[in-house]
Amino acid sequence: MDLATAILLTVVTASTPLLLAAIGELVVERSGVLNLGVEGMMIMGAACGFAATLATGSHVAGVAVAMLAGMAMAAIFGLLVLGLVANQVACGLALTILGLGLSGLVGQGMVGQKIDPVGPIDIPWLGSLPVVGKLVFGLDPFVYASFALVAGTWWFLSRSRAGLVLRAVGDNHASAHALGHDVRVVRFAALMFGGACAGLAGAYVALVYTPFWVTGMTAGRGWIALALVVFASWRPWRLLFGAYLFGAMSIGQLHLQAMRGALPDFLVLPGQFWSALPYAATIVVLVLISRSRGRRGSEPAMLGTPFSPDR
């Protein structure tokens, strides 16, 4: 395997958790709910998924538990935001704080323990093709799942009746309610999907990316996923592009740091500057996106607006 292939493979691994978490949040936001707790759901997915795999030795069990953990966290959020009409921004923060704490408690006995990572799939003949063998047919199952989720979400939102209802709820909940759609049921379902996706993203971090437990191992990826949804202007295919752009950037800065000896002098900067680059770049990208007003077309009109049927 040559260097270019190896780098491309690491880009895929860096991008997949972002894509998984962001596609779930995209659906949630399209239904009009802003769940800022992605990081909390993700880290709970990572902790519970790791614990389940450690206990049973089964990756399938780990993934299932991770998704359930993400959904359980999303259910708490849904209960407050949909049932009790609580403030969505503050609830999202509470979910993150709670998730980071709970994951620490779940993981307290697992620090330093290792599991077998989920490996790439093995297709007999296709996998041994040059270049594409590894890059197209030799990735881990999560990557294919993330692509399938993007395609499925695109189809659901733009081609299915249920997707139309979900968008209607997100764009004008009063009208959707008047038409007889149960706004809160639709939004709760979207939240469950978002929770499952965030849990899956957490499982990816804990079962593939770093197959040993580190406290707080999602390291702000949930927040970046939130920014990616804005970057993608709430459209699934753009999300795919954004996640890979971001993954490439975060891997690129690592390689730049590694080959500092070969760099021109002005690029030899302390590591902290390179580490800050993805966050600074996120801000720049958010600014560029919000400048081009026309491209905000898919922003759900009701995003973050509370709804209660009796008002």
């Binding site: 909390g40 009790l84 403030n87 921004v89 709670l98 408690l105 307290q108 927040w223 996120t282 801000i283």
Partner: protein, 355 residues
Amino acid sequence: MAWIALEKRAEPSLAMTFLSPLLAIALTLASSAAIFAALGKDPLPAMHAYFVAPLVDPWSLQELVVKATPLVLIATGLSFCYLSNNWNIGAEGQYVMGGIFGGGAALAFHQTGSALGLPAVVAAGALGGALLASIPALLRIRFSTNEILTSLMLVYVAELLLDWLVRGPWRDPRAMNFPQSVAFDVKVPILVEGSRIHLGAALAVLACCAAAFLLSRTMKGFEIRVIGQAPRAAAFAGFSPARATLLVFALSGALAGIAGALEVVGTMGQLRPSISPGYGFAAIIVAFLGRLHPFGILCAGLLLALSYLGGENAQIMMKIPLDATRVIQGLLLFFVLACDLLVLHRPRLARRATA
């Protein structure tokens, strides 16, 4: 099927305005007991170690004030933001930036013996926090960029900047390669003899009083509240939301910056790679628990300080992991937000009608 229906009150309930935070605290205490039990600890001694022991020991009581100081300062600033519907969630970064600027000022005045050292530290801290906070504000005003995400991203940037400074240019060469600055000789006056309670505690109380005055007695305070509660009415009144956004962000950044500067120069006495146990995020809980009211924030700050102190105490005495503190803080915020519903709604047992 019996069902708890929520009836909208004609007017916000005054009793519930005070009772709902207390109910939230009671629910948090009950769930903490459940968490301690789930961790395999005897709930009663654990609760005692967490919530009572720090309150009966004189040393802990002083530490309570020390820890509440930054929380109250930051939360007072945040309340301006949240009252005017500006979602600054990056107070942690503004606090760190204040620490960097304040620490920098202390370094500049190191071994000069100048009386200007302390005012410079406070002013530099306020400036650092306000500068960092005005970035999301300006981006929101100019490009309508979402301030939630930008303010949060800047937390990571500020933390990495601090990390670089204390490992690089500002590292004390005599510190045996430990990443820390020299011990500052600029001192923050201690208010209570023999304790670590410094000038910041007085400033925090002062900030609360000033905020209460500003919000209830001045036009600017009225403007901030109207912009948050009724943006259309504010527009008709000729209030500029853009200027209010910049003002509340700069104000909350400055207060968080002062908190950071005084923590670094007063409590810690030097810069280290990490200068906060999450005060900036905990202050968000303080702001909401205090119902965005300055005096409520004063009480809530002491309670959150208790959660930090109790967490440390329970770790030493009962081997309860420190993460329990975060869980309890997260639950507290959830319960506060849930109980807020009671201010505007009245629960009633009802038959489930057709939806």
